[in-house]
Point group: C2
Chain length 143, copies 2
């Protein structure tokens, strides 16, 4: 199945040693949005967390030998669907990043575990709890 993917932008960072996972990262970078998507980012706010979906564009191709992999510094292999490896059946990554700044096409972010130059393919609101997303009136009443 071929999917037509158009990056909405790219992540740039000067950090050389990228942390293993966003949950343990204080590294900073900038998402440079393609101009055509600036309007779509107009409601992102400084101080907010966002879900960033990206392509593992430099990971080697997944083979059946990668179904089980050693997590970093572990001695026991685990199924790839239970670990954060960049070598996955489909090379798609997800990180939760903290928004530091927004200026035109540039979104400054903290918490990156993403290599310099990585194609970004989506940004979504980070929903931690029920009802963080705009809800229907009847759902709000149940709250």
């Amino acid at each position: 199945m071929k999917l037509e993917i158009n990056p909405i932008g790219f992540l740039f960072t000067e950090v050389k040693k990228i942390p293993r996972h966003w949950s343990v990262s204080d590294a900073e970078g900038v998402i440079h949005l393609e101009k055509e998507f600036v309007e779509a980012a107009g409601d992102i706010e400084v101080g907010q967390d966002i879900v960033v979906i990206f392509l593992f564009d430099r990971s080697r191709r997944f083979t059946k030998d990668d179904l089980l992999q050693f997590p970093k510094n572990k001695n026991i292999k685990k199924g790839v669907f239970s670990i954060c490896s960049p070598v996955r059946p489909n090379p798609i990554g997800m990180s939760v990043l903290h928004v530091l700044s927004i200026q035109g096409t540039e979104i400054g972010v903290r918490g990156i575990d993403i290599l310099n130059g990585t194609p970004i393919i989506d940004i979504k609101p980070y929903v931690k709890d029920k009802y963080d997303c705009p809800s229907r009136p009847e759902e709000r009443e149940k709250k």
Copy 2:
């Protein structure tokens, strides 16, 4: 940019009225994994939450008129990167689902906001807090 995507499985559900978002959903379904990926799911545990990445395979194609959209039951348009709409620049969805059962190729899940028959393209561990993912010894020491 064309990306070769191979679904790792499909989501099936008998629920007709799919809730708007996983954070407000108690609907149940089953992820039928392709046989070749069963081993990759061997460390998923009943009772765990998982991140499920999928394709919005029945959403209409995104155009520049969709940069801003009305969230459900809201009167003000918002940028698509701040809402959970299935009409996105790249048709990729993400839900956090609760694992109810695992039997061979079938993973029973609760919390679906995913249409019956949707292609699933990745499963990742759901990291709520720092250090949920296997970490390096030096990172654990900092904890």
